[in-house]
Amino acid sequence: MTSIMEVLGDELANLLSIKPIQAKGLLRLSIRDVMPDKLAEDLTLQNLTDVLKKGLKGRLDRIGASNSEMIVNKMVNFATKKQSLITILKT
């Protein structure tokens, strides 16, 4: 069963040209950085936006990605546009 992490992971993998499993790992680390007590499956759109803007941004900066701001914006835009998947995939 597809999860929201897989969908976001695939998109991030495309944007960074890395493997989906690495992208999912990066997203999980970002969640741990910002919301350590939350499971990926329990995140709301607001939670996800925070994770992407703070957690993912920080992780991309630590990696040294030059276009981190643009990638984060694209990911936030992607999550906002497809927000209904959060409900559909959870139920």
């Binding site: 597809t2 897989e6 969908v7 695939d10 989906p20 990696i63 497809k82």
Partner: protein
């Protein structure tokens, strides 16, 4: 009130309230707050049958108004959070619509008039059209956005089902908006057709809601029959440093 109409209200009351309760249970289990709005909306719309059974359309207007506003909340929270939307405008329109329903019902009882009854019915019809036209639009727009993703087809089908069921809810609204003009002019028996239309659309709505929110595995398998799942690499236990290093290498830093 004839027996057929009375039976319709009982069927509507039971089906909508029971389905609403099931959806709320599912929403609580999956921690999906917006789905609770949807479940509550079904219960509220179902409960509107009780005052209607006693001939009080103004009482029903309160339950209908609340139920339809809850549908708006569901759409806003599911499709339009952190996006521009006509949510506030639609809520105001629905409050006005529900107030018109109640006022013109009471007025038509004091001063019996087909025109007043027609304005009451038209207010109800427009009140139904607002959330369900929006839901049809939101489902179709989201369907277009997700259909290109590499996800199981049954997930994409759920958007189509939601759009279809929202569209089905427009049928009673359309009937309501033409019932009185047709009944007093060319089709005196049109009220019977309206009742059948209401019953059929209610039953179809409930069937589709069950498929949408409680899709059986056999139906999922049917929708997924031509789908080849993508090969997902198994999660391997690696340290945070190793993961960051491997990404750094892959993006060429």
């Amino acid at each position: 009130m004839d027996i057929g109409t009375e039976l319709y209200y009982y069927v509507y009351l039971i089906l909508w309230c029971v389905t609403g309760v099931f959806i709320i249970i599912k929403a609580v289990k999956s921690k999906t707050i917006n789905l609770i709005h949807f479940g509550l909306s079904l219960i509220s719309l179902g409960l509107a049958s009780i005052p209607e059974l006693f001939g009080s359309y103004s009482g029903a207007a309160i339950f209908r108004g609340i139920g339809l506003i809850l549908v708006l909340f569901f759409i806003e929270k599911t499709f339009y959070e952190e996006k521009k939307s006509p949510f506030v405008l639609f809520v105001i329109c629905l409050i006005i619509g529900a107030s018109f329903m109640a006022i013109f019902d009471l007025w038509s009882k004091v001063t019996p008039s087909k025109l007043l009854e027609y304005i009451r019915d038209l207010s109800f019809a427009i009140s139904i059209m607002i959330p369900f036209c929006w839901l049809t639009f939101a489902s179709y727009s989201s369907y277009k956005l997700v259909k290109t993703l590499e996800i199981e087809p049954h997930i994409i089908k759920r958007y189509q089902i939601l759009g279809v069921v929202a569209f089905i809810n427009l049928i009673p609204a359309t009937f309501l908006s033409v019932e009185i003009p047709l009944a007093i002019t060319v089709m005196p028996d049109f009220s019977d057709i309206v009742l059948i239309g209401f019953l059929v659309s209610s039953l179809l709505t409930i069937v589709f809601y069950y498929i949408l929110w409680f899709m059986p595995t056999s139906v999922k398998n049917y929708f997924n029959k031509d789908y080849t799942p993508k090969v997902i690499e198994e999660d391997v236990e690696i340290s945070e440093e190793e993961l960051m290093k491997s990404i750094r290498e892959d993006i060429g830093i």
